[in-house]
Amino acid sequence: MTLTIVLLGAAALIGLGLYGALSQQSFVMLMMGLELMLNGALLATIGFWSRAIGGMPEGQLLAIIVMAVMAVEMAIGFALIVAVYRKRQADMTESLGTLKH
């Protein structure tokens, strides 16, 4: 029961994050969607570690790796936003069309 609640919450967070990452026009909001998906992954990892694998330490290690991925995503993402802003003075995905045909 506990695990089901947690995993369903994680699935909802991943679905919301996917919606945000696909629908938002602003780069910053798009990254919030990515963060939300990683939040769901972290929640699912904690749930599985706590209720399904008997507290194997590797489960906690995976949660730490998810957090490191969050930090990398955020730092590189914002650096890319700044780089795009310098080059195009744009903060919206619609402003980037150079890869279109």
Binding site: G15, M32, F78
Partner: protein, 207 residues
Amino acid sequence: MTDPVTDLVLLLLTGFAVWTGWRVFRVDSMVRASFSLMLSFIAVGAIGLLLSAPYIGIATVFMMAVEMMVMAIFMVMFMMNPAGLNPMMMVHQHGVSIAAGLAAFLGLGAAILLSAPPSDPVPPQAPVVAQLGHELLGPSMLIFETAGVTLLATMVGAVILSSRQGRHGAADEGSRPPGLTAGGAPAGRTPGEEGGPGHHHHHGGHG
């Protein structure tokens, strides 16, 4: 371990995490969206505490509190409407996105409800933090160190990508703002036409 009170608190926290995650895309200000996302992360950290993962839970709260403060600064930098005084709804391919999000949730939910995950909870008195420490500096040290080097590479990459001094001259050389309409004339300023700070060394850059 699985008493009804714990389950109820867990249900409330999970619901709060999902609700604040939903609010991220529904509030009218990006700063509010950023704080909403922070609340969602804090709820996940509290769930970690409740599910006998104190180190992961506390680390999540600390890390996300700082990260969302940084995010709020970026929000104010890049957002035309940080105060949320006007309605904000900037989306594209909305129907497809809703369908994709729903499909992800329903697919994962069906997988959760239709499968029977093993029930093997953490022993109540297990020294989980000590176990994590021994794992990090023992069998999984290579993974841990790789994560450290990855973070170092991230720092170098972030500095290089966001540097004002680009690889071939100034990073904003020849920068043109996007038009207000597709293919329209550039809106806003073009570098070189005003001598702001940081533009003193490359006049004459072609547009």
